[in-house]
Every structure is written in C-alpha cells, then in structure tokens.
C-alpha cells in the first residue's frame, strides 16, 4: 500500500477508468497518478484515447466506470453544480485553439476572469495585460482570432489557460498544427506556467517532443495504459472509491 503522503501528493489519480461510447471503448481500465507540479505527457498513436482522457479531466465527458481524483475532487461523483469550480482549477489548451472568434484576444482572456466572478474591471485589465505581455501578444490585444496566425492563436489560448492561475494546465496536442518555431514558443510558455507552480499535462504523439523533456510520460494504446515512466506505481494507488470530495 502506498503511503498517505504519496497519495496526497498526487493532483491527478485515475483508478480503473473506463470510457465507452456505445459499444466502443475509448479508454479501458486506465490507472495512473500525476504528482503536484509534474510536467507530464500522455502519448500514444491516434485513437489511443488521449483526447478522451483530457476530456474526462475537465469533465467534458463523464467516465463510464472507475474513478478519478483531480485536486481532491472525485470526478465519478462530482455534482453538476461543482463542475465550474473544478474547471476554474484547470486551464485547457486545444489543438484547434477554441478561441471565441467574435471576441478580441483581450476579451477571450478576460472572459475567464469574468466567469470566475471577478468584478473589478481594472484588476481584470491589469491581469490580462500582464499575461498578454508574457505571451507576446500585447500588441494584438484588440485583434480578433481570425486575423492571427496559428502560433499567435495558440499563445492567446495559453494566456487564457494561465490567466485564472489554475493548479493544472491540460494541453491537448498544443503544437500539432504549429510550425517548429511557434511550437517552441508555446512549449516555453508551458514551461513558464510549470515554473509558476502549475501541473502541466500535455497530450502528444510527437516522439521528438518527448525526447526533449525528462518528464513523466504515460503511454496509451487502444484505450489502455501500456507503459509509463517517472511516476508513482499506478496500480497500488487505487483503493475503494472515495467520496465526492476527497480531503487533501
């Protein structure tokens, strides 16, 4: 049995997680743990279940079986009303950016803070401007996403993911549609987020990218975890399902 400290140190824990879409299994009995402030990769070929796993983490989908603990919250039993609270602890970056095209870059980023209930316009402005400065988009603050390049869009998405100071940043194939220079810039920003204390989880099928980092890696294939490196012993961290909110 793993000691309690190890369990408490894990910000993400998957235990026997299965996700079915009808008869098709996207994930099957997946176990793993990611420690606080880890820089982790989830990798595997197309159709391995990487994006589904990310969706389960931010509650874009509900799991069919098993349970997952994210920052002390049991996702298998999370009430609908608590989902926004969970999502505010997570920043998500997508391959296709998912910026709202009718909002400017500034408004896209500020929306996170407005959604989190911040009311002070000056506070929001200051925080968003700082983030846009960090990602090198201060001069594009009033631009609309369709006018930006892919790399700029992804940096705007990174700023949006970071602005709420989340504990976890999930990035689903963040560099897949970018050129090498733009990819490097995005990875630098994710490293910066990691350096600020966030746990970063990136899905990728790019082996070159994995070789650049000495990070935690979880390998998926056909919905199963087939290997992992640099983390806790997965199968031992699972026990009887805890209540909706785990004390941490």
């Amino acid at each position: 049995m793993q000691d309690k400290n190890e369990l408490q140190n894990q910000i993400i824990r998957f235990c026997g997680v299965t996700k079915r879409f009808g008869e098709v299994y996207a994930l099957r009995d997946v176990n793993f743990g990611i420690r606080k402030n880890d820089f982790a990769f989830i990798t595997g070929p197309s159709g391995a279940g990487k994006s589904t796993l990310i969706k389960l983490l931010y509650m874009g989908e509900r799991m069919s079986d098993g349970y997952a603990i994210v920052d002390g919250i049991n996702l298998a039993r999370i009430p609908r009303k608590q989902i926004p609270e969970l999502r505010r602890r997570i920043g998500v970056i997508f391959q296709d950016f998912k910026l709202i095209e009718t909002l400017t870059v500034f408004q896209n980023v500020a929306l996170v803070m407005e959604a989190a209930g911040f009311r002070s316009r000056s506070f929001i402005r200051q925080r968003v401007e700082d983030l846009l400065e960090l990602v090198g988009l201060a001069h594009h603050s009033d631009a609309y996403p369709p006018t930006l390049s892919g790399g700029e869009k992804q940096r705007a998405a990174v700023a949006r993911a970071m602005v709420g100071k989340p504990k976890i940043i999930l990035a689903d194939e963040p560099t897949a549609s970018l050129d090498p220079a733009a990819s490097e810039r995005v990875l630098q920003l994710l490293r910066a987020a990691h350096a600020r204390g966030a746990t970063v989880v990136i899905t990728t099928h790019d082996r070159e990218l994995l070789s650049m980092f000495d990070a935690r890696v979880i390998y998926l294939d056909q919905g199963r975890r087939v290997d992992s490196r640099g983390g806790p012993e997965e199968t031992e961290s699972c026990e009887a399902e805890p209540p909706a909110e785990e004390s941490s």
């Binding site: 609908r80 997570i90 709202i100 929306l111 709420g164």
Partner: protein
C-alpha cells in the same frame, strides 16, 4: 444584473447579422399572427353589430292602454338580458308600415280602424348570446300582464347564430393553430441561433463559467430578440393597416361600423408572448448544450 445586461447587449451587437435574421423571422411570424388577430377582431365586431340589430316585439292586448304598456315596460326593464325598451303606439306602427309599403300603401287606407296594437320593442342586452337567450327572454316577456303576443325573427336568428358560432369556433381553432405554428418557428429560430453559437457556449463552459453566467445573458438576448421581432411585426401590421384603411369603406354595408386596430392590451399580450416564446426556445436549447 448590470453585468448580465452588459454582456447580453454586447452579444446582441456582436451577432447583429445573425440576430437581424432572427428578428426578421420573428417579425414575419408576429405579422401573420397580428394580421389574423386584426381580421378576427373586426369580423367579431361586425358580428356583434349585427347581433345588436336583433329586436323582440311585444304586442299589447287590445285596449290595454298606455298605462298597462308603461307597467309592462317597467317590468321588462328589470329583466336580466334586456338592453332597452321603446314604446311604439299602434298609430305609429301603422304609419311606419305605410312608409315601408310605399306606393301600395293605398291598400291600407280602406281600413276603418287600425289593426295594429300598441307594441313594445325590446333590444336585448349585449351579453345576451345565442338563440336560447333570446328565446328565454321572449318567453318571460310573454308572461307579463297585458302582453298578447311576442314576435322575433326566429328563423333569421337561427341562421345568424349558426354562422356566428361557426365563426367563433373557426377563429379559435385558427388562432390556436397559428399560435402553435408561430411558437415552433420562433423557438426553432432561437435554436438555430444557439446552435450557431454552440462552440462559443461550450468554450465559455469549459473555461469555468457556471450555468447562470452562460444562461442569463442568453435568456435576456432571446427575450430581446422576441421583443424586437414583436415590435417590428406589429409595426408592419400597423403600416399595412394605415395603408389599406383609407381604401376600405363600410358606409353602405354598415354605417356605424369602423374597422379598428388591435387594442393596446392585446398588443401588449402579443409583445409579451413574442418575448416569452423567444425565451422558451432558448430555455429548451441551452439545457441540451450544458448537459455533461
């Protein structure tokens, strides 16, 4: 509340093309409803005018005299369902008859005495509806002392009330059908609007917005769309009414009948209903988007 209003208004402006198309659809739907309403209101008014033309004539007994007629009139006026009563002496009745007959009135000049008795002419109250109401009233009047006979155009009334009830049923069924059709059109338009903004709603949800943050501006927006569509539709009907009215004359057919516009209280109901249906379309669609 202010932030909800601010977001709703800024969204409204941001999606102006989409919203413009939606307002146009709602306006057309409201235009159809209003055109029907306008027609049925005025056709109803016309029917009511005709109903007001119904008379019951109570003939007094021979030699009953003015005193008896006055007593009978007092008694009638107390009855529920009686609008007004007027006394028509036999001489006046004969004079009217001669006038009606015209050139052939010489046929009546050979009469040694007036065959027409004194009469009381009763106009039923506005709320006396249907042939049964008129029949009951006539029966009661017949029982008043001094009244010899009661006459009313039963056959004509039968036909009139047949048409009147057919009209009312048709109006009701048509109104219900049009309303349901319009509800579907408006609700589906709102659904299309929301479907086109589905990704935006999903993104807002993923970044941590709670349901209230997402829903309330959309509710407000859809009610606002309903309001604008409702006002535009009503405006179009009013313009059409003002444009067509001068060309319609009721002078010959119904001298006292005037075509009128939809009354203000019904106008308010139409606008509130437009807002409600807009909101309803949004309410049912948004629930589907926010489901996990």
């Amino acid at each position: 509340m202010i932030s909800v209003l601010r977001r709703a208004l800024s969204d409204y402006v941001r999606h102006r093309l989409l919203h413009g198309a939606c307002v146009f659809t709602i306006a057309l739907a409201v235009f159809i409803v209003c055109a029907f309403t306008l027609f049925f209101i005025n056709a109803g008014d016309l029917m009511e005018q005709w109903q007001r033309g119904v008379r019951i004539t109570a003939y007094m007994e021979d030699g009953a005299g003015r005193g008896t007629a006055a007593d009978a009139r007092k008694a009638m006026e107390k009855y529920e369902g009686v609008g007004s009563v007027s006394y028509v002496p036999g001489d006046e009745g004969l004079a009217w008859l001669k006038e009606e007959i015209g050139p052939d009135s010489s046929l009546l000049s050979d009469l040694e005495e007036n065959p027409l008795p004194d009469a009381l002419e009763i106009s039923p109250a506005r709320d006396t509806e249907g042939i049964e109401g008129i029949e009951k009233l006539a029966q009661k009047i017949k029982e008043i002392p001094g009244v010899a006979d009661v006459e009313y155009a039963r056959k004509w009334l039968d036909q009139f009330y047949g048409i009147y009830s057919l009209f009312r049923i048709t109006a009701f069924v048509m109104a219900a059908l049009v309303f349901i059709a319009i509800m579907f059109i408006v609700a589906n338009t709102m659904r299309l609007i929301l479907y086109s903004r589905r990704e935006e709603i999903e993104i807002t949800s993923i970044i941590g917005a709670d349901e209230a943050f997402i829903k309330y501006p959309l509710y407000l927006e859809s009610a606002l769309l309903g309001l604008c569509g409702g006002l535009a539709g009503l405006g179009l009907v009013y313009l059409a009414y003002r444009g067509v009215m001068p060309g319609i004359s009721t002078e010959g057919l119904m001298p006292f009948f005037r075509i009128r516009f939809i009354p203000p209280e019904l106008t308010a109901v139409i606008i509130i209903a437009s807002m409600f249906v807009g909101w309803l379309g949004c309410f049912f669609t948004i629930r589907r988007f926010l489901r996990v």
